[in-house]
């Protein structure tokens, strides 16, 4: 097989068939995928079927703690999980840039298989296209996922109530910080790695025992984006105590140095949960007992009508936590 992806690999002929078979079918090793039909047959248990789709264009493609493949699987799994669903099946479409090293593509596929196994989902269908050099940045992945929400579970911003407590399952900003410096061009030495991980098991443990109102994963835009979306959707004010938000020392240090704010950095392995105040202690204890939630913390609460997010600063001041504006860029001033 050639070392690099060429336009021939996307033309639908022999080269395509070999690429699909040798890189994806063999790596994903799924009986449904092996059929190589244009569609996959799936079986859904009882409950509310849910469906999600997401595109992944992260740059660089390999970063400390993960890669675009792991990100694609975990991101889609988590989108299903925060609805309370058990994720079941994923499909993925690849747009490959001419010239991408096949070894890199194999590495990505293997990472996806590992992530899928970790999450307990099957990769059952896919597609591959090749675009000319420059038309894509190495590889883009679009993933779609299907899951089922157990009967009676209804999570969402519409369930938020004044008095609810807001929890996070662990330190924020690890992924965003890891990617900002993933190319190592800023010359920084640190041990920050992406927190990219599937969370369906953590979520299931939580919602099966606590009457959770809403769950989200703070990806692009970080905690600030999620809380603002909740505030706008519910029309309620949310208050966050900045000193209570867990952030790793190295992430804090990197943010101080580059002028970034951890509240706006993406996480790919955390959930933000809104639970009734009476259940907050139990929820926190439960999260902390789980391997993916050991550093969970209570960070704020839902107040009355309003629609804004208010941050109590470490020295006792208050400010609005706005929606982020564009990607976080290092600053000097």
């Amino acid at each position: 097989m050639n070392e690099k992806v060429s336009l021939a690999h996307g033309s639908g002929g022999l080269a395509t068939a070999r690429l699909v078979r040798e890189v994806f079918v063999e790596t994903f090793a799924d009986p449904e995928l092996d059929r190589l039909e244009d569609q996959a047959r799936i079986v859904l248990p009882e409950g509310q079927p849910v469906f999600t789709t997401d595109a992944f264009v992260v740059d660089p493609v390999f970063f400390p703690g993960g890669d675009i493949g792991r990100l694609a699987v975990c991101g889609t799994v988590n989108d299903l999980a925060v609805g309370g669903a058990r994720p079941l099946y994923l499909g993925c479409a690849f747009i490959l840039e001419e010239g991408l090293a096949l070894a890199d593509l194999r590495r990505i596929a293997e990472s996806m298989k590992r992530a899928a196994d970790e999450a307990g989902v099957r990769l059952v269908t896919g597609d591959t296209k090749v675009v000319p050099r420059g038309a894509a940045d190495r590889v883009f992945i679009t993933t779609s996922g299907v899951g089922v929400v157990p009967p009676g579970l209804d999570l969402g911003a519409h369930r938020l109530r004044p008095g609810d407590r807001i929890l996070v399952s662990g330190p924020l900003g690890d992924h965003g910080a890891a990617v900002v410096d993933a190319r190592g061009e800023l010359g920084l030495e640190h041990d920050i790695v992406s927190d990219c991980q599937p969370l369906a098991d953590l979520v299931e443990a939580l919602v099966s025992q606590v009457p959770v109102h809403a769950l989200r994963d703070p990806t692009r835009g970080g905690l600030a984006a999620v809380l603002n979306e909740w505030a706008q959707a519910s029309g309620l004010d949310l208050t966050v105590e900045e000193a209570a938000v867990p952030v790793r020392n190295a992430v804090r240090g990197l943010c101080e140095l580059l002028g970034l704010d951890p509240l706006y950095l993406a996480c790919e392995g955390r959930v933000v949960a809104a639970v009734p105040s009476a259940a907050a202690d139990a929820a926190l204890a439960l999260l902390r007992r789980h391997p993916r939630g050991r550093e969970a913390a209570r960070i704020g609460e839902v107040n009355g009508a309003g629609g804004t997010v208010i941050l109590e600063t470490p020295i006792g001041g208050r400010r609005l936590l706005d929606l982020p504006v564009g990607e976080p860029l290092p600053r000097i001033c």
Binding site: G187, G316, D322, V325, I332, C333
Partner: protein, 267 residues
């Protein structure tokens, strides 16, 4: 001592605020006191920690031109953009400059269109790019006030010492005193105090800003505060100084683009 946490102590902050409130209660100014800071780091800190909300309403912040890119004429950004468009050029820059609009576009936009624009943390990193890619011309877009100029200067000296021929600097450093003088010359601006930039002062000396008190208002206090000290200076109201036209609210400086007056955190 970590030199950060001790200066962000909530209890100490509350005590200082109480002290400020007590001082104001005694002075009873007939209009809100207007204090200007013009270090971008200070502006950021004020909003980040909620100082504008923590202080009593009788103290108003006037945010000066603290962004060394925003005070540049658009044509200077255009220069950087034009250079970035040359295929042989690697345009290196601090992140701050990427989103600032030139006459038609921005460095971020042209980067998306394929120009080789790279964010660096230090001019030393730009010099390293020049070492690694001798076939390309590495241009460093040198922005910043006095705090940043020495870094550019030492990097130039280092490049010369090593005989690196493919490194050049588009020098757009600006100095603070002239910006402050321009502001203080504005008759619409009535300030009671200024928080001078701290890190700039470590480079040029706090005496650089002594002219504010000497040349402008005889009793205008002026405190240089590195951004690590997150609290405003104690105020004394210059008695009898203000009273023509009463208490105006249009103290905002007019020589800076609107972007400078907007809240700037979370970028």
């Amino acid at each position: 001592m970590r030199y950060l946490d001790e200066f962000r102590d909530p209890a100490a902050a509350r005590r200082l605020v109480a002290g400020i409130e007590a001082a104001l209660a005694r002075l009873k100014p007939d209009r809100p006191l207007q204090i200007m800071e013009f270090c971008g780091g200070h502006t950021h800190t004020i909003f980040r920690y909620g100082l504008h909300q923590l202080l009593p309403e009788s103290v108003e912040w006037v945010h000066g031109p603290g962004c060394p890119v925003c005070v540049l004429p658009r044509e200077r950004i255009d220069l950087a953009i034009a250079l970035a468009r040359w295929p042989q050029v690697i345009l290196t820059s601090f992140g701050d400059a990427l989103r600032v609009p030139g006459s038609e576009t921005s460095l971020l936009q042209v980067r998306r269109q394929g120009a080789d624009v790279r964010v660096v943390y230090s001019p030393l990193d730009a010099l390293e790019q020049a070492r690694r890619e001798p076939q390309r011309q590495v241009v460093f877009f040198a922005i910043g006030f006095e705090t940043t100029a020495p870094a550019t200067a030492f990097t130039v000296l280092q490049a010369a010492a090593e005989g690196i021929a493919n490194f050049s600097v588009l020098c757009q450093h600006v100095t603070s005193p002239e910006a402050v003088r321009a502001l203080l010359a504005d008759p619409a601006l009535r300030l009671d105090g200024i928080v001078a930039p701290g890190h700039v002062s470590t480079v040029v000396g706090a005496d650089t800003f002594a002219f504010i008190a000497e040349d402008y208002r005889t009793s205008m206090p002026n405190a240089a505060s590195p951004s690590g000290l997150r609290r405003p200076p104690k105020r004394t109201c210059p008695a009898g100084r203000c009273s023509k036209g009463g208490c105006g609210r249009n103290g905002a400086p007019t020589s800076a683009p609107p972007a400078v007056r907007k809240r700037r955190w979370g970028r």
